[in-house]
């Protein structure tokens, strides 16, 4: 049986310092077994500015068994599956300790975003890119953050349309946007200079 008293306390605790940590956990429905966690992309990384949602489901043995976590937001990262959002993180597996909480686990996930471990990859394609062509990796990660993790900014399609209207070929616009990580202004600069 899930220890719901503890989950309840965790939620309260988490909402208390939401300002400081930026980490939010809220139930998906009435059922406390299914939750949604939200973490901000760490500053100074290609994930900066993004808000990432993580599906959390608690096993019956929680907190004695680790919570199951999976990115709901698409993210480009060597230790996170670009397809399914599955996370490769030791504390979510054998290194889990009942003394950890949802908040601390999410903090660890956030830390993983800043410090990828390409030698222990979840997504081999991303990991290879990270190791062989770091610049492209940064570009793609930023582009994915722009595209999938930013609700407020313009969607990619709108940016493409906007730039295409300025008279650049659409295909070129797309590739340039991707190369600069989705930044509209940088893309324009590049398009004009190239």
């Amino acid at each position: 049986m899930i220890d719901f008293a503890r989950v309840q306390k965790e939620l309260q605790e988490c909402s208390r310092d939401i300002e400081a940590s930026g980490i939010r956990v809220s139930p998906k429905s009435d059922n406390l077994g299914c939750l949604i966690g939200t973490i901000p992309g760490p500053i100074g990384t290609p994930y900066e500015g993004g808000t990432f949602q993580i599906d959390i489901s608690l096993p019956d043995g929680y907190p004695f068994e680790p919570p199951k976590m999976q990115f709901a937001t698409k993210v480009w990262h060597p230790n996170i599956s670009s397809q399914s959002g599955a996370i490769c993180l030791d504390i979510l597996k054998d290194q889990w300790s009942p003394a950890l909480t949802l908040k601390t686990a999410l903090l660890s996930v956030q830390a993983l975003l800043s410090a990828p471990e390409p030698d222990d990859p979840q997504d081999a394609v991303v990991a290879q890119q990270y190791l062989r062509d770091y610049q492209t990796f940064i570009g793609t990660a930023r582009y994915w953050t722009e595209t999938f993790a930013k609700a407020s900014s313009l969607g990619v399609e709108e940016k493409v349309q906007k730039l295409a209207e300025m008279g650049f070929p659409e295909a070129l616009v797309r590739s340039t946007l991707e190369a600069v990580g989705g930044d509209e202004n940088l893309a324009l600069e590049k398009l004009c200079s190239g």
Partner: protein, 588 residues
């Protein structure tokens, strides 16, 4: 001839001596415990004492409590020598830290200053008596601990349950686990104890379960070389390394491949490819039993043997009406040639392997016949009294047959393409093969001779003739023994040693046959076996096998003083309470 005879006599007596030695093996081992090949049988009953013995070494060496010693040994897979090496190399602190052992210089016992403690797991405030502090100093409530332990036991982690605190590497005190779990799930506590006990077998490279089915409940412990063949007290002989039947001089890899090859139908399939073609209509394989290239299937369909295509029925010897395939299918031809050759090669080795196995089975019946002949001859009051030569000869015959039969699968792989294609040139291979086959044939010839003499109805012969047979049997026994040894040497030194890829090891040749593991006898057992069973912690359904005195009487002598003392003290099962640290047990 005289020379030969005397040497035979020598052999004869020495063989008898050594056989005597074999019977009294156990007594010998007890006289000189650390020496000699001492494969041991560990039964359900002696498992605990076997474990204790190793624990004691480490406890004495490092002056530790039992559960700490167990944690260390489990971490180092019961390899006390490696543990010692780490101790010397890295020091005690590092040794302990890596294995998760925290030895406390007790902090003020359960800090009584706080009446309530907040458990970091359930986040409740609880009276301190409902919490437990473990060696590493972390304290949580009993409920949470229990939950944690149960989850870990169910996950099969009993042997290394860590503290609940994040990044705390310490292994929890087994007594704490046992007590807490026992309160809620006594069956689970039992399971936990069993896991700890069986760790000695499952985490230990020197110990393996006997592979008998139905399982005899025993495990076998070897002393040094894992490439050896053993006999469990249940009578099963097996290869310790791969746990399949004893197969030397075949290596484990070879034997596995061979057994699989014999089991599945791959060779039948090969034969079918080489000799048949599928009917184009009903797809049954059709074998051509002569005649021209127009073949008709039992379903009535005619087809061309050369190309497999359906045809009409009119034909001459060389052509079929309205059909000209003409094209020579070189590729297919080659493939079927190859399959035919491979199959032929396999059959060659298989037939010989099988033949020796069959002879062995036939000869097993000989044993009874020979016993009868012996008793008949014995009644005929003659100067022939001693018939151990027949039995010795027969044992020699069985052992040599075994060697011979397994030498065929060995040769199949050693000189085939499957395993060592790139290891040697064709020339090298031929030279080696000749060398090996030479040895093999010599052995074969002598084994057959030995078999022939043993089958003689010596009870119907006169004394002189019997004496002659006796001499021949003794003589041939020595020769086959030497030849077996030579064959093993050849395999080990000339054939396997030079291989570069893959390691193939074989169990050493044992002139006296596969060694039977002896019962493990320790002071602990002599001491406690009678107390152990009732309080049996987990070795469920243990039958009272241990009642049989293990081997010879000398175990009594060695265990005597201790046993007496233990009985007097009458600890009432306390000795086997895993809860008690060993020091306490000792003091008692």
């Amino acid at each position: 001839m005289d020379d030969c005879l005397s040497s035979d006599e020598d052999y004869y007596y020495s063989d008898r001596d050594s056989l005597d030695g074999l019977e009294n093996e156990e007594a010998d081992f007890q006289c000189a415990p650390p020496k000699g090949p001492s494969t041991k049988v560990i039964t359900k009953e002696s498992l605990l004492s076997a474990q204790k013995e190793d624990l004691r070494k480490v406890m004495d060496m490092l002056s530790l409590r039992e559960h700490h010693a167990r944690t260390l040994l489990i971490y180092y897979r019961w390899d006390a020598e490696r543990l010692l090496a780490v101790l010397v190399e890295k020091g005690k602190a590092c040794l302990f830290a890596e294995a998760g052992v925290k030895v406390v210089e007790h902090q003020d016992l359960d800090s009584p200053s706080f009446p309530t403690i907040t458990c970091d797991i359930c986040m409740e405030d609880l009276p301190s008596e409902e919490t437990t502090r473990v060696d590493c100093g972390h304290c949580f409530c009993n409920n949470c601990w229990t939950e944690h332990f149960i989850v870990k036991i169910n996950e099969g982690q009993s042997r290394r349950i860590r503290c609940m605190a994040h990044k705390c590497n310490a292994i929890c005190d087994e007594a704490v686990i046992r007590n807490l779990v026992n309160k809620r799930h006594p069956d689970m506590a039992e399971k936990f104890d069993r896991f700890l006990l069986e760790s000695y077998i499952e985490d230990n490279k020197r110990v393996k379960w006997c592979p008998s089915t139905p399982h005899c409940g025993n495990a076998i412990r070897i002393e040094d070389d894992e490439f050896c063949e053993v006999e469990c007290s249940c009578g099963l002989q097996f290869c310790f390394s791969c746990l399949s039947e004893a197969h030397s001089p075949c290596s484990c890899v070879m034997w596995e491949l061979w057994a699989k090859k014999c089991r599945d139908e791959s060779e039948t399939v090969n034969w079918i490819t080489a000799h048949t073609k599928a009917c184009p209509k009903c797809h049954k394989p059709v074998e051509k039993n002569g005649g021209c290239n127009l073949v008709s299937c039992i379903c009535g369909q005619a087809f061309c043997w050369l190309c497999g295509g359906a045809t009409g029925r009119d034909h001459t010897w060389s052509s079929i009406t309205g059909h000209s395939c003409g094209r020579f299918k070189a590729e297919r031809e080659k493939k079927s040639e190859r399959a035919k050759r491979d199959h032929y090669r396999y059959m060659h080795y298989y037939n010989r392997y099988r033949a020796h196995i069959d002879s062995f089975k036939q000869e097993s019946k000989l044993k009874e016949t020979i016993q009868e002949r012996v008793s008949v001859t014995e009644e005929r009051d003659s100067r022939l009294r001693d018939f151990s030569w027949v039995n010795n000869g027969l044992s020699r015959l069985f052992r040599s047959r075994r060697v011979l039969s397994f030498s065929y699968p060995f040769a199949f792989y050693m000189f085939g393409d499957e395993l060592f294609k790139d290891e040697m040139t064709q020339e090298e291979r031929e030279i080696k093969q000749h060398l090996f086959e030479d040895q093999q044939q010599q052995l074969e010839a002598n084994v057959e001779k030995l078999s022939k003499f043993l089958e003689e109805p010596f009870d119907q012969y006169g004394e002189d003739k019997v004496m002659e047979i006796r001499m021949q049997v003794i003589n041939l026994s020595v020769i086959t023994d030497t030849l077996c040894q030579k064959l093993y040497d050849c395999i080990e030194n000339d054939l396997l040693a030079s291989l570069q890829f893959g390691s193939h090891n074989i169990a050493p040749y044992k002139s006296k046959g596969i060694e039977r593991a002896s019962e493990l006898t320790t002071c602990w057992k002599a001491n406690n076996s009678d107390k152990y069973l009732p309080s049996d912690c987990g070795a469920s359904g243990g039958t009272a096998e241990f009642d049989q005195p293990s081997g010879s009487g000398s175990s009594d002598e060695s265990g005597c003083p201790l046993r007496k003392r233990a009985r007097k003290d009458g600890l009432g099962g306390g000795l086997f309470d895993l809860n008690l640290p060993a020091e306490v047990v000792d003091r008692n």
